[in-house]
């Protein structure tokens, strides 16, 4: 996030929420937003589901799943046409206005109305509300990024913020709400195939700096992305997979395909606190201390480094993850793994990236209850708002307005981009984006299928399903397939009847919940439950050409009502559950 989440309560004049179900997934951020609304802030919500936040919004736009770029381009078009953009900011601090102007020319609010039925006047109203605010914050989550045009979706959002000067001030910004406690930290620590904790692996200066601390040269070749791994295993390139604190069997798209791939590995090591659905497939399982049993730091969505305290002792022999890793590294014979406490690792991180973390000692993090990076020295107060000097992190210090176009057929994206580049003479190192749908509904699979979370569970449920008040109390209903009213009516589905949802990748069976908040033609389920994991059906073949992300938030599917006998049969075929607290919840595959 460019900004601090507390500013939603104190400073934002407009909150622009797109592809985020904030009250379910980030309840306390939603609380801060609602405090802002009490103060008088306005709220725009754009989502295929009429979420609780949508019901509280001043403007709600119900989009078809995946229809973001045409809508955002239409808003940008209107803002430019009506001269509502911040000329001072755009002229002094950005590049690319002409490119964007050209790219959005075909996108009008009227076109959106024609294509989706969303009234053009609503699109205009939202664009004007956002553009005219003194400080407007854009917030989004995976409902923007998990598509084949996720990166271009984010280009469009940052275009909006740059055009209206909504960067570098309190209450504004472009704010991805991170879904997991330490996504920000995992990225900043270099758990990425192309980025280390000091910068890009392709940067010779970065490699030199790391060598000066590690004593070893690192590779300049970017590694494989997580989404490439099943293919790389099948090609025989990856032989040894080490998974720690993740449950990819459930969280990765197209479950069946992932399981088949990992079975071809020479060795899969899983390090976790439970025998997860992934650990059951492993060749070696290493236990480790959990949260509450070890100290360290997390980085929240506002880039705030916060202390995590050890409160209880783990079982005998069980040590924190970093110590397990060091035990293995030392046995391999690697140098530089003789840390005896977590703080020593953190102090090395501060040396690796002094610009961000230099001033953040454990003592200070604890005393000040967390501090946002960059914080280069002990006297620096931290940086809750990025870009206050109106300088981007790019070499020329300018913000880039990126032209984003849209293809009716995903196959045409590259050629359309090329046409745009040639037409405008865009330099080869300047980014260009494009959007398209990964799959379109057809006769066989006539429904759009999307996934998300519920407030009382988290991700693949490994932790929350082991908490009785959550699993047995709040969530007594268990997994459900939520359908829009029209789907229910057309297929004679009733509340609590059994149904199976399927496509070419897999199927899941669960009870039906008719959800009037869903846009017509939409099916929704979660990925919390191994016995009915939405990711069984997710698209693993298409990727975002820029990020490698799979379109987990959209695929196509068919749904039909089934009898209880058939329901039990499907469950028996597909279940691989680690939480066998009731019938049909046993380990099978």
């Amino acid at each position: 996030m460019t900004n601090d989440l507390v500013e939603f309560a104190t400073d934002s004049e407009v909150l622009f929420l797109i592809g985020t179900n904030t009250s379910e997934c980030h309840p306390i951020i939603a609380m801060q937003m609602l405090r802002g609304i009490e103060r008088g802030a306005k709220m725009i919500v754009i989502d295929p589901k009429e979420t609780d936040m949508a019901k509280k919004a001043d403007i709600y736009i119900q989009t078809p799943v995946g229809y973001n770029i045409p809508l955002l381009n239409a808003m940008i078009n209107h803002i430019i046409k009506e001269d509502l953009f911040d000329k001072e900011f755009v002229n002094n601090y950005s590049n690319g206005l002409e490119y964007v102007k050209y790219a959005v020319a075909d996108f009008t609010p009227q076109r959106v109305e024609k294509e989706t039925g969303i009234p053009a006047s609503l699109v205009i109203e939202a664009a004007e509300m956002y553009a005219k605010a003194g400080a407007a914050a854009i917030c989004y989550t995976m409902g923007m990024t998990q598509f084949i045009d996720g990166t271009s979706n984010i280009f469009s959002l940052s275009n909006l913020a740059i055009l209206t000067g909504n960067l570098g001030k309190k209450g504004a910004g472009v704010n991805p709400l991170r879904g997991q406690n330490n996504v920000q930290g995992a990225c900043d620590m270099g758990a990425l195939p192309n980025v280390t904790s000091a910068g890009l692996v392709t940067d010779a200066g970065v490699r030199e700096h790391i060598k000066s601390i590690w004593g070893t040269e690192i590779s300049s070749k970017p590694g494989f992305t997580l989404t490439q791994v099943p293919h790389k295993i099948e090609e025989g390139k990856v032989k040894f997979l080490y998974v720690f604190g993740e449950n990819p069997v459930m969280s990765d798209p197209w479950t069946e395909h992932f399981i088949e791939a990992v079975e071809k590995l020479d060795i899969m090591v899983v390090q976790d606190i439970f025998l997860t659905e992934t650990a059951q497939k492993a060749d070696v399982v290493l236990p480790a201390a959990s949260w509450g049993e070890k100290d360290g730091t997390f980085l929240n969505t506002s880039r705030r480094v916060a202390y995590v305290s050890k409160a209880v002792e783990p079982a005998a022999g069980v040590v924190p993850d970093w110590k397990v890793i060091c035990n293995i590294a030392q046995r391999i014979g690697l140098k530089g793994f003789d840390y005896y406490k977590a703080e020593e690792i953190w102090d090395e991180v501060r040396k690796i990236n002094p610009k961000f973390f230099g001033g953040l000692s454990y003592a200070r993090i604890i005393k000040e209850n967390g501090i946002s990076w960059p914080c280069p020295d002990e006297t620096h107060p931290g940086t809750p708002v990025l870009y206050e000097d109106k300088k981007s992190m790019l070499p020329d210090g300018k913000f880039k307005l990126v032209p984003v176009i849209y293809a009716d057929d995903k196959k045409d994206r590259a050629s359309l981009e090329k046409k745009l580049i040639d037409h405008l003479n865009i330099p080869s190192d300047y980014p260009v984006g494009s959007g398209a749908l990964s799959e379109k509904v057809n006769e066989l699979y006539p429904c759009l299928f999307t996934t998300g979370r519920k407030v009382y569970h988290y991700h693949t449920g490994t932790m929350t399903r082991e908490c009785k008040p959550l699993e047995m109390g709040a969530d007594i209903m268990g997994p459900a397939i939520e359908v829009s009213i029209d789907i229910a009516e057309a297929r004679d589905l009733e509340e609590n009847c059994y149904a199976v949802v399927e496509n070419k990748r897999g199927k899941i069976a669960a009870k039906v919940k008719i959800n009037p908040d869903l846009r017509h033609g939409t099916i929704f389920t979660t990925f919390h439950y191994a016995e009915a994991d939405g990711n069984e059906l997710s698209n693993a073949e298409d990727t975002d050409p820029l990020s490698g992300m799979n379109p987990l938030k959209m695929t196509i599917a068919a749904i039909r009502r089934i009898s209880e006998e058939e329901f039990i049969k499907v469950r028996e075929e597909t279940d691989m559950h680690m939480h066998p607290s009731e019938q049909y919840r046993t380990v099978r595959r």
């Binding site: 620590m189 590694g223 604190g245 793994f337």
Partner: protein, 139 residues
């Protein structure tokens, strides 16, 4: 009862929680009062989401897939001691790199674990000459 101020292990909001501990067991979670991020509030997961720490299903011993006492892909997961498991993983990792090159090993790091865990993990892979490391931020 002892009190430990910590950060919630669930979503990216980063609420602060006071854990109350008795006889080496967490017995209650309370929102940290007056904290910048959550200002005395927590959601259901923050309030009740700590019970898994003491779940009887927690792993306490390493497991290796074995058949007739030997490592085998066809075997069952059996309990082994820590030294055996660490030695086994280290030697397999080393021989895989020697036989198939640095890029034949791959690590999935964790967006739920600490910065320190993540840093150590990527260092383990990069020190062996590969950048094959990713985590499920994408998922």
């Amino acid at each position: 009862m002892e009190k430990f101020q910590t950060t919630c292990p669930y979503c990216g909001t980063g609420c602060n929680i006071d854990l109350l501990v008795k006889n080496n067991k967490i017995v209650k979670a309370e929102p940290t009062k007056g904290h910048h991020v959550n200002d005395g509030e927590l959601c259901l997961k923050g309030l009740y989401g700590w019970e898994y720490v003491h779940s009887p299903r927690r792993l306490t011993k390493p497991l290796i897939r074995k058949k007739d006492g030997q490592f085998s892909k066809e075997g069952e997961l059996v309990e082994v001691d820590f030294d055996e498991a660490y030695d086994f993983v280290a030697s397999k990792m080393k021989t895989t790199v020697e036989k198939h090159g640095s890029d034949s090993i791959m690590g999935f790091s964790s967006a739920r674990c600490t910065n320190e865990d993540n840093y150590a993990f990527q260092k383990l892979f990069r020190m062996q000459g590969t950048n094959n490391i990713d985590h499920c931020a994408r998922l």
